[in-house]
């Protein structure tokens, strides 16, 4: 795809584990271990996985808030992986982030208007009357009243606070907004408001979202394509409808089967996986999922499956899907 806005290739982020008096390195956390994907203009890519799978580290690495250990990040075709702080600055305008906790990500001593206007001031894009007018417009866009600009974050509810964070992200007219669990801290009725707002804004402005969440239903609702992560790697990536209709990786199948369906007549919960996610410090050899997989074979312990095309851009990293004659493993 030439129209890719963001291209991530073989991204890795390893953290050293130090212990003892001399702080010697005793291990490595493989937070992100070779992740590649691309994101088109105006597209939403959902990134799902359980805690510790590395989805947030991917998000932060893309924005260079975390320095990747290796790999390449291209924004609009330009490699931004190694740009210096100054050289990166113009690119920062086109990438913004919305965090999970709207309580922790707003400065409690700044008025909501100042919070939203700050990016414009920092980049020297507006001041005085014009700044005020632009902030007021941003407030209206996210469904807040301009007369609330003088209020402090504590005077807003959780949902309104998340709207302030979204307005701040919109201020610089970015082309990419990374949303890291933006609705996880919100009540169900408020969650729907914020999801609708994000969808509406994308339709108006045409920017892309890298949307990170652990809630499959939320991801399914907002994304065009979905990538499933497990222990630092993408195990499956496909168009939203295809992924949910025809999940090919046993982990994706287990995830989907674990979601409680809001219908008492639907199939009852059937946990398809036992045990916990292994530690990313010593991830299992071969396929990292083999310790919990219903279909694990001898080969899975030793061979690491690569992400392979299974048709129609549906990519899976599973030895059952490697074209050796075994079709996909359905439950």
């Amino acid at each position: 795809m030439s129209a890719a806005l963001l291209e991530v290739t073989e991204l890795k982020k390893h953290y050293p584990v130090r212990a003892g008096v001399l702080r010697r390195q005793v291990g490595t956390v493989h937070a992100v271990d070779g992740v590649s994907f691309s994101l088109g203009a105006g597209e939403t890519l959902g990134l799902v996985g359980e805690s510790g799978c590395g989805k947030s580290t991917v998000a932060r690495s893309v924005l260079r808030l975390v320095e990747p250990t290796s790999g390449e990040i291209r924004l609009d075709g330009e490699d931004i992986t190694h740009l210096s702080k100054t050289a990166l600055r113009p690119h920062r305008r086109s990438m913004q982030i919305v965090f999970q906790d709207p309580f922790a990500s707003l400065n409690p001593r700044m008025t909501a208007g100042d919070v939203v206007g700050e990016p414009l001031v920092v980049h020297g894009l507006a001041s005085g009357k014009e700044l005020e007018a632009r902030v007021a417009r941003l407030f209206e866009q996210v469904g807040l009243r301009p007369d609330q600009m003088q209020n402090f974050p504590h005077q807003f509810s959780g949902g309104q606070r998340q709207r302030i964070c979204i307005a701040r992200a919109l201020a610089l007219e970015p082309r990419l907004i990374v949303c890291d669990e933006p609705v996880s801290a919100l009540d169900v009725s408020i969650q729907a408001q914020v999801i609708n707002l994000l969808i509406d804004l994308q339709r108006q402005h045409g920017f892309s979202y890298l949307f990170i969440a652990h809630d499959l239903a939320v991801v399914a609702h907002i994304s065009h394509r979905v990538a499933v992560m497990y222990l630092g790697r993408i195990v499956e990536i496909a168009d939203k409808d295809e992924l949910f209709r025809n999940p090919r990786h046993p982990y994706t199948q287990a995830l989907l089967a674990s979601v409680p369906i809001a219908n008492p007549l639907a199939k009852k919960l059937a946990p398809l996986v036992d045990g916990d996610v292994p530690s990313p410090v010593n991830p299992p050899s071969g396929c990292a999922f083999h310790t919990r997989c219903r279909f694990a074979m001898e080969r899975c312990r030793t061979e690491r499956p690569a992400l392979m095309d299974a048709g129609d851009g549906h990519q899976v990293a599973c030895l059952l899907n490697d074209g050796t004659g075994r079709s996909n493993a359905t439950a």
Partner: protein, 335 residues
């Protein structure tokens, strides 16, 4: 109808208030329900609706001050818990009625071995030797399917994963075979695959032991998959109660209906990409300044003059389906 003796818990007109600087909060306002042996009752609602305070009131664990139970009765196996003094209550708590919380790490003692914590709970209520209690502890850990229970019993909470800790909590709560278990968002802090395991475990054990279960959650999916009866709370009040089938088939209260429409579903095939979710406008009202009439009226599409003036009574719509709405009849038509 069930036999009277089948009823484990009967809550009548429970009222719990909080006295704060900004005024009087009616956290739980006139809430009644019953739980039968082996039955699961879900209490569902958003933050601040009073579901957790209801649970704490049943356990008599509401912090006083600032909170106080000011009315109603909580009858567990024929005994009114609200009439007991603290010593008597202590003999019941953890014995006949016990509770598991959302965050297992904050409810386990970090400097005490898992097994010893269960032993402590058991020996508080039963006159048995420490050796026997040890055996019960290991047996309970086996029951909640913790691998190598004897070894795990000697470990500290930080050595267990989140899912294992929640299993240990469940083991502790069930060690004395209580008549009623209260689970307050037991899986909210857990990943979805672990959540499925823990929910399945709770339901299995409940069936095995015949425990009554009050499950507090904000997740309608969890409700649909686990409960037999459901209470929906809004701003401290019970606004709807029904069997889980009736509630999901035809919710009578506009709030319940709104909640159901606002949750995104994992798509079965054919769901159009990015369909808008139905949102409930506005936010949950502050409990200090509740409107005179129906607390949901300011957010309700169906609200009429009467809703703002008078609080609607809980009316029975057949088969024990209760709803507090002046326009419950029209809810189904208006969507």
């Amino acid at each position: 109808m069930a036999q009277k003796s089948d009823i484990v818990l009967e809550v009548k007109n429970l009222k719990t208030v909080f006295f704060t600087n900004s005024g009087l909060f009616k956290a739980v306002d006139d809430v009644s329900f019953t739980v039968k042996r082996g039955e699961t009752l879900a209490i569902v609602g958003e933050s601040g609706c009073g579901k957790s305070v209801t649970a704490l009131s049943l356990m008599r664990l509401v912090p006083d001050p600032p909170g106080r139970i000011v009315g109603g009765s909580v009858t567990l196996e024929g005994t009114d818990l609200l009439a007991l003094d603290e010593t008597e209550m202590r003999a019941v708590r953890g014995n006949r009625i016990s509770m598991i919380f959302q965050e297992p790490m904050t409810s386990l003692n970090p400097v005490m071995r898992i097994g010893d914590q269960i032993v402590e709970a058991v020996r508080l209520h039963r006159n048995i030797s420490s050796k026997e209690a040890q055996n019960i502890a290991v047996e309970m850990l086996r029951l909640v399917r913790i691998p190598e229970p004897a070894r795990r019993a000697r470990e500290y909470p930080h050595q267990l994963s989140g899912g294992m800790r929640q299993r240990a909590m469940i083991a502790m709560a069930l060690a004395c075979r209580p008549a009623l278990l209260i689970a307050d968002e037991p899986t909210t802090a857990l990943d979805v695959t672990i959540q499925a395991q823990i929910l399945a475990l709770i339901l299995d054990l409940q069936k095995e032991l015949g425990t009554g279960l009050v499950l507090i959650t904000h997740d309608l999916g969890v409700v649909a998959q686990t409960a037999q009866r459901v209470i929906v709370m809004y701003a401290g009040r019970k606004v709807e109660e029904a069997s889980v089938e009736a509630l999901f088939a035809a919710p009578k209260h506009p709030y319940t209906r709104g909640l159901m429409a606002s949750i995104p579903a994992v798509p079965a095939s054919g769901v159009p990409a990015q369909a808008r979710l139905n949102e409930i406008p506005g936010t949950v009202p502050s409990l200090v300044r509740l409107p005179k009439g129906c607390a949901f009226a300011p957010r309700c599409k169906l609200a009429i003059k009467r809703c703002e003036a008078e609080y609607p009574p809980l009316a029975d719509w057949g088969g024990g389906h209760l709803a507090a709405c002046w326009r419950a009849e029209e809810v189904a038509e208006v969507a």
